[in-house]
Amino acid sequence: AQSVTQLDSQVPVFEEAPVELRCNYSSSVSVYLFWYVQYPNQGLQLLLKYLSGSTLVKGINGFEAEFNKSQTSFHLRKPSVHISDTAEYFCAIGTSYDKVIFGPGTSLSVIP
């Protein structure tokens, strides 16, 4: 069975400060990794994805994530956050392009 853990349920950070949102996963087979963002009262939008190749993945809105196979992690980072980054962030894994399993989410609050 596969699972996704997001260790921080809430992350407050001051505007223009860096942020890291942590994601760890468990799977007995190779996985594909995703980060999604959900703004209030909206659906989810893909931030970035890792399918293969370079372990450092760049996404939209200045976010990037690094796949670490030995630590089974896929942490999301941004060097300088904006107020508009306040949202819920979900890490997810897929194993066969069929089901996608989501983590519980991390609520990022950017403080002016």
Binding site: N41, L44, S107
Partner: protein, 112 residues
Amino acid sequence: EADIYQTPRYLVIGTGKKITLECSQTMGHDKMYWYQQDPGMELHLIHYSYGVNSTEKGDLSSESTVSRIRTEHFPLTLESARPSHTSQYLCASKGDFTGELFFGEGSRLTVL
């Protein structure tokens, strides 16, 4: 830009009513999904479909039903709504080659 639409966005109804949440996509994707999400909570897969006339139950048991008569349309029905059905319902479809899920904006259901 993703082309997946959900209606209604918001619905408030009384106990015992029958409701149908509509989901349509114009991307020609075979795979479609329904997730249930309570406020501030993770997403739970309740139904999925691999194509026309294919429907399967997801990981979270749900009293709702789905149908897939056309590729672009994946409606969810509750025959008799109860307050425990109050939640947000997110519809998604998946691209065959990228594994990425495309989400609608969600339908927020409140049963009084």
